[in-house]
Symmetry: C2
Subunit: 465 residues, 2 copies
């Protein structure tokens, strides 16, 4: 990249030498994420302060250096990949977590703080930042905000964007902007805070945030259900919406997923394995008296709303229940090469969409196994395609491509999303037109231009300019 | 306005004659809101469908006709005022409310639906759209969305923007865009739905929305507390944050407010009137067993966290409690001319901010009475300034202006907002710089330009171009 030498040399008077990495091997580790794309990184910067970030960006803007902001790099869409010689701006050294404010139920953090560390910190005050996802031990708050992370408790709490009362961001021009400054109410024009959340580092670099917290659940319980059909699952979900509790997770998986978890990870289901679909439902209650919940379960069983249903009676039971749902990805990984689709439809369309999706899959007669699971209560299913042993990698890839075209056409008919929670990054850019119109993409471009007219910030992510 | 005749004549083939008003007296009723500004309206259009809205806007764009979108016109910032000969586009005839979807807990409505009608409709399914504000019997969903309405239950539910899963909007170019299509999860680029919410009709016209609903509270209770100081109020709020319930309202008012409500509206406080501040706290619980709540109240009283506290024992008690808080505006209105400031600071800054604000008011030695009340738990106090009888209107206005300058300077120091929930409209445009930086306003202009390059949609609202 031209000007790189001048850029790094100018930074030398603002950053200490250990904050600037240039060894190619060391650098490339910062240029990829869980998509395992090949990195090509010119340099890595590890600022210690917002002022340093501002200095980096204003110099980069002046010298036309492309910057890729980077957090825990657990993304699944290539949003933090640097593969074209960009400079990586890692926020990982900015990981301060302030004291919890118990009056406003908020906590101020720097964007390099690890999500799980924030959870642990808030827990000591009886509070919860309710974004809970598999990568929480590695991912960072800045990444959660940039991708508007989801996770398993969206049905109760919604996405990341609902749990933020302030952002400190630095624009590509090096200006530090404090957005919303921890105000619960602030109707003074367009909500730039919401615009930045989910923009995958293409508009500005998030350096700090004030996170809104909620009470830790007082009492939790876990149910496992088996059901005869998707229709029955939807009826159960609707019934549970009005049960004597709050649903905090309503996850589903197919019999094929259960069998793989049983076989590959030796996990045990206490409600058998002969039904076509299974539901893990977690609930929250304010009382430890189980009688109302047991009565509700009795009614569900009596009315044959499920094949079988069971309430976990111990923390071992609870772990075993979650173990079935959470073991799916691992058990599939050891089964064979996999292609994953993280899509969404309106919750009310889950039954017809999944029914058509399965029929379409059968009709195509592919040498592929389909594993269907995900967040039923959020309208967010995962289609995992796994290669069968007798199929070549090339053939697997071709068949997945064929399936993808059909799946996306179906999604478009249902007004669905080609990326429920993983974002667009560089991997899903070409899919976006299935979920967004040309006019929307045109508005995206105008917004991008307003923030970053030289297209230097996370170039090539979300859309090509 | 030039081209008006051509515009109305072209519309004649798309709208029925009763959908086009041109009688000046009839028209002007549609050009003002609760700010009572003088209207000057060229024509009023009352479309019956989104297609008609699209036709109106594309023709207006072509002929350069300025359009003011209009709902229930209960705004307090002049966001729906048409005072410069604009054409008013009223959505009031588009008020369809679809069946509630009990699986996804959503309801689709047209933007002319009255907020209270939506509440009543959803209540029949045991569900709640939790935006609850004084104007609910008159205001419309489109207005709630355009202003990101707040209200008395923000502490529990947040603002309007958290309770929307889809918007149908029409751009000034006449394009119909379906934003987010009722998806709980949809991370495919910048969130234009959130950008439109709170944009006060300056970016696009909202024609339909899918509203996210929540369960109706199972059991509610109301407390009244008297406290010796703002510090004590903050400690009570923090303690209540961790009580055996969810807070659904934490409202406060000064002794002066209480005395006026007692005197002017003959309402009675069951906890006396000798303390400087009062709190109305509403809570939600999942059980009708009061023992835990009474135990909590006992502890609060025993530890002298309040002067006095009382739990309403009947629905009459509850009404009487809310009557004190809700009567303030009415009792002030009959006391004298009033200037109102609806501001916000971080909740954690309420005590120092209000303390300084009161001291500043005393120091200024004005011929004005200050009534202090509002949403303590959201950091959103109302400063109402009321003229004393011996002060002239001119002097009152001058003194208010002097106070305003000091108040806004104080707000700026606390990183506060000059408009917590009422929006900017045309009244607060010149205040916005206290809460937003020039760079933010520059970004606003770029965004406005992307949507409405000719500046025809709600011109002069939020900011001058």
């Amino acid at each position: 990249m031209k000007n790189l030498k001048a850029f790094l040399s100018a930074l030398g008077s603002h950053l200490s030498s250990e904050s600037i990495l240039t060894d190619p091997h060391e650098c490339n580790a910062y240029g990829t994420d869980w998509t395992r794309q090949v990195a090509n990184v010119s340099a890595v910067l590890l600022p210690r302060s917002t002022d340093q970030v501002a200095k980096i960006l204003s110099l980069a803007n002046e010298l036309e250096i492309q910057i890729v902001p980077s957090g825990g790099r657990t993304g699944l869409a290539g949003g933090a990949v640097a593969s074209k010689g960009e400079v990586v701006l890692s926020l990982s050294k900015m990981n301060r977590i302030d004291s919890v404010d118990r009056l406003s139920k908020t906590v101020r953090v720097q964007s390099g703080a690890i999500t799980e560390a924030v959870h642990e910190h808030c827990k000591q005050s009886g509070l919860l930042w309710p974004i809970d996802l598999a990568a929480k031990g590695t991912c960072e708050i800045g990444g959660n905000l940039s991708t508007n992370a989801g996770g398993v408790r969206v049905i109760r709490y919604g996405m990341t964007r609902k749990w933020v009362t302030a952002l400190q961001v630095v624009t590509m021009q090096g200006e530090i902007i404090e957005l919303n400054r921890n105000l619960e109410k602030n109707n003074t024009g367009y909500d730039l805070l919401q615009l930045i959340i989910g923009s995958e580092g293409t508009l500005a670099v998030i350096t700090e945030a004030t996170l809104k917290l909620t009470r830790l659940p007082r009492f939790k319980n876990i149910f496992l259900f088996s059901v005869t059909s998707l229709e029955q699952m939807a009826r159960l979900c609707e019934e549970a919406n009005f049960g004597p509790f709050h649903i905090t997770a309503f996850e589903f998986f197919s019999q094929k997923c259960l069998h793989t978890v049983q076989e590959k990870l030796k996990r045990i289901s206490r409600i058998g394995d002969t039904a076509p679909f299974y539901v893990l439902m977690e609930i929250e209650r304010s009382s430890n008296d189980l009688s109302e919940v047991e009565e509700w379960l009795g009614k569900i069983l009596e009315e044959s709303l499920v094949v079988d249903g069971s309430l976990a009676q111990s923390s071992e039971d609870e772990k075993a229940s979650w173990g079935l749902r959470e073991g799916i990805t691992e058990s599939i990984a050891v089964t064979g090469p996999v292609r994953k689709y993280d899509v969404a439809v309106p919750v009310s369309q889950m039954v017809p969409f999944l029914t058509e999706g399965q029929k379409m899959f059968s009709r195509m007669n592919l040498s592929i196994d389909l594993y269907l699971f995900g967040h039923f209560g959020d309208g967010s299913p995962h289609f995992n395609l796994v290669k069968k042993p007798d199929c070549s990698m090339q053939e697997f890839s071709n068949q997945c491509d064929r399936f993808e075209i059909e799946l996306f056409a179906l999604l478009k008919r249902y007004g669905g999303s080609v990326s429920a929670e993983h974002g667009v990054g560089n991997l899903k850019k070409h899919w976006v037109t299935y979920s967004r119109t040309n006019r929307e993409l045109e508005l995206y471009r105008s917004i991008k231009k307003a923030f970053d007219p030289k297209h230097l910030l996370n170039p090539g992510k979300i859309l090509d300019i």
